[in-house]
C-alpha cells in the first residue's frame, strides 16, 4: 500500500483516515517563520460524505486508499441489491442500499453511472448530472399556464418527486438535474 507524506498532499488524493477512505478537498501549508510546519487539511469521508478538518505535522504520513471511480451501466435491482456492469469487461458488481444511497431515485436501467470502488467493492454511486425520466403521476395543470411560476409536485417512474411547472403532464418525459433535484426542461419522445 502506497504511503503519502505531507509533501505529497494535494486535492483529490484518496487516503485512509480513521479506517475509512477519504478524499482530500483542501490542503493549506501553515508555517510560522521560525516554527514547525503543518498542513491543515479538509477531507471528505467517502462512506459518510462528512467533511473532516485535520492538521498534520510536516512529514506525517497517510496510507493511500484503494479507491477508484469507474463508469458502469446500471443493470437492475432485485430490491436488496443493485447490479452494475463495467461495459468493457462485462464484469458485474453488486452494490448494497447504503452504497447506492440517493442515486437510486434517479437511476433507470441501462443508465451509465459512476461507481466508486473501494477495495474492489462499490462504496458509492453517482448518477449522471442530468437524467431523463417519465412522469407517472402529477395533478392536471391549469390549461394555458406556461409561465412555470408556482409549480407542482410530480412523481417520476423511479419514485423521485420533482417540482415541475403547471403545464407539464403525466406521461411526459422531463430532464432533471440530479445534483439539485430540479426540473430542467421537457423532452420530446
Amino acid at each position: 500500500m502506497a504511503v503519502f507524506s505531507t509533501s505529497d498532499f494535494k486535492n483529490g488524493l484518496k487516503v485512509m483516515l480513521d479506517k475509512d477512505p477519504a478524499v482530500m478537498i483542501e490542503n493549506e501549508f501553515v508555517k510560522p517563520g521560525k516554527g514547525q510546519a503543518f498542513n491543515r487539511v479538509k477531507l471528505r469521508n467517502l462512506k459518510t460524505g462528512r467533511v473532516i478538518e485535520r492538521t498534520f505535522k510536516q512529514n506525517e504520513t497517510l496510507e493511500s486508499a484503494d479507491v477508484a471511480d469507474v463508469e458502469m451501466q446500471y443493470l437492475y435491482s432485485d430490491g436488496t441489491d443493485w447490479h452494475f456492469m463495467q461495459p468493457e469487461s462485462f464484469e458485474q458488481y453488486t452494490a448494497k442500499e447504503d452504497a447506492v444511497g440517493d442515486a437510486k431515485k434517479w437511476m433507470k436501467e441501462q443508465d451509465v453511472c459512476i461507481v466508486t470502488l473501494y477495495n474492489g467493492a462499490p462504496l458509492s454511486v453517482t448518477p449522471p448530472n442530468s437524467v431523463v425520466l417519465k412522469i407517472v403521476e402529477t395533478d392536471p395543470g391549469v390549461r394555458g399556464d406556461t409561465s412555470g411560476g408556482g409549480g407542482k409536485p410530480a412523481t417520476m417512474e423511479t419514485g423521485a418527486v420533482v417540482r415541475v411547472p403547471l403545464f407539464v403532464q403525466t406521461g411526459e418525459l422531463i430532464k432533471v438535474d440530479t445534483r439539485t433535484g430540479e426540473y430542467i426542461s421537457r423532452v420530446k419522445e
Binding site: E28, K34, Q58
Partner: protein, 338 residues
C-alpha cells in the same frame, strides 16, 4: 494600457506572469518608498551574499545546499543559499557599519503554499541603540508610508504573546502543562494536537498560535506581539528582570505573519549554545547538520553594538497592501513558473 492576462493554469500559459501589471506597479512603488524612508533616516543600504559557507541552524528552516567548485581548490565546498541575511548583516554591524537595511532574496526549501514560495524577498534592517519599542515604532511609521494610498489599516495593537495566547487558547503558554494545552486543543476541535505535539512545548505553541490565535486576529489591524516565551528565543536577548520571556516581537496583518524582530543577542557564548541546542534538535530529527557560523561568532566576540533588528516578508506585505490573498498574485513568477 499594457495589462497582463491573469493566470491560466494550462502549461502553454506558464510563460506568463502570475501577477497583473498593477501588482508589478505596487512592488516598484514599495521598493522606492522603502529606500526613501530609510535614506531619510540615515540608514545605510547594504548587500550581503546570498551564497554562503554557513547557514542558520534553525531546525525548522531547510536551506538549499549547492556545491562550489573553486578554481585551485580541488575538493570545493558545500555552500548554502541563505535563509536570511542576518548573520552577514551582524558582521557588518560588528565591523562598525552603523544602522543598515537590505532588500534581498531569501531561500527556504520545503516551503510552498498560498503564503509561501521557496524564494522570497525580505526587507531586513538593524538599528543601533534601538530597543524593541523603538523598533516597533519604526515599523509602524514604515507601514503608514507604505499603505498610504493603498488599503486603509485600523490603528495598530501592541500586546504580549502571553495575553493574546490566553485570550484565544484559554491557557498560559508558559506555565500550562501539556494536559491543559491538550484540553484546550480538544475543546477547540483539534483533538489530534496531542499526538502531533507530544511533550514538545515549542510545537504546542506553534500549533495553537497558528490555529487558534492568528485566525482570530482582527482583519485590517496591525498586531505587534512581543515578549515571546523563553522557549522560542530564536536570536533574541533574554529579558532583564523576567526570565520567562525574551525580547522578541512579531508583526501580523490579517492574522498573517509578516516579520520577526529582536533586541539582538550579542553574547557569543549564548549564541554558540543556541547553535548547539538547534543542532541537538536537528540530530534528533535526523536533519542535516550545517556548520556553526564561526565568522558570526568571531564578530560577536569582537563586539556587536547594542541594536534591534527585524525582517519583513515583502511579498506578503505587498499582497496585503493590494488586498489580495495569494502570494502568487504579486510574484511575477512563483516557483511553479520559475
Amino acid at each position: 494600457m499594457n495589462t497582463f492576462r491573469v493566470s491560466k493554469s494550462s502549461s502553454e500559459a506558464d510563460w506568463q506572469p502570475s501577477c497583473d501589471q498593477e501588482a508589478l506597479r505596487i512592488r516598484a512603488l514599495t521598493l522606492n518608498r522603502i529606500r526613501r524612508f530609510f535614506d531619510g533616516r540615515g540608514v545605510l543600504e547594504v548587500e550581503t551574499p546570498l551564497l554562503c559557507h554557513a547557514a542558520g541552524t534553525d531546525p525548522h528552516l531547510h536551506p538549499f545546499i549547492t556545491h562550489y567548485r573553486q578554481p585551485g581548490l580541488t575538493s570545493g565546498a558545500d555552500c548554502y543559499l541563505q535563509t536570511s541575511p542576518e548573520f552577514a548583516m551582524k558582521r557588518l554591524l560588528a565591523a562598525g557599519s552603523g544602522s543598515i537595511y537590505q532588500i534581498c532574496k531569501a531561500f527556504r526549501n520545503e516551503e510552498y503554499g498560498r503564503h509561501h514560495n521557496p524564494e522570497f524577498t525580505l526587507l531586513e534592517w538593524y538599528r543601533i541603540d534601538f530597543g524593541l519599542v523603538e523598533l516597533i515604532d519604526e515599523i509602524e511609521d514604515l507601514f503608514l508610508v507604505l499603505f498610504d494610498g493603498m488599503r486603509a489599516l485600523l490603528p495598530s495593537k501592541r500586546i504580549t504573546y502571553r495575553q493574546l495566547f490566553e485570550q484565544w487558547v484559554g491557557a498560559d503558554p508558559i506555565s500550562a502543562d501539556f494536559a491543559e494545552l491538550a484540553e484546550c486543543a480538544k475543546r477547540q476541535n483539534i483533538p489530534e494536537a496531542s499526538s502531533i505535539c507530544g511533550e514538545d512545548r515549542n510545537i504546542w505553541l506553534d500549533l495553537l498560535f497558528s490555529h487558534l490565535v492568528q485566525p482570530n486576529m482582527e482583519q485590517g489591524r496591525v498586531y505587534f506581539v512581543y515578549d515571546y516565551p523563553a522557549c522560542l528565543p530564536s536570536l533574541a536577548r533574554k529579558k532583564l528582570g523576567d526570565e520567562a520571556v525574551v525580547e522578541r516581537m512579531e508583526v501580523f496583518i490579517d492574522g498573517l505573519e509578516l516579520g520577526n524582530g529582536y533586541h539582538e543577542l550579542a553574547d557569543p557564548d549564548e549564541q554558540e549554545s543556541r547553535f548547539d541546542a538547534d543542532l541537538a534538535v536537528r540530530r534528533q530529527l535526523g536533519l542535516a547538520l550545517p556548520p556553526k557560523d564561526q565568522r558570526l561568532l568571531a564578530a560577536l566576540s569582537h563586539g556587536l553594538p547594542d541594536c534591534s533588528g527585524v525582517a519583513i516578508g515583502l511579498d506578503r506585505l505587498i499582497m496585503l497592501m493590494a488586498g489580495l490573498d495569494q502570494m502568487a498574485q504579486v510574484l511575477a513568477f512563483p516557483v511553479t513558473r520559475s
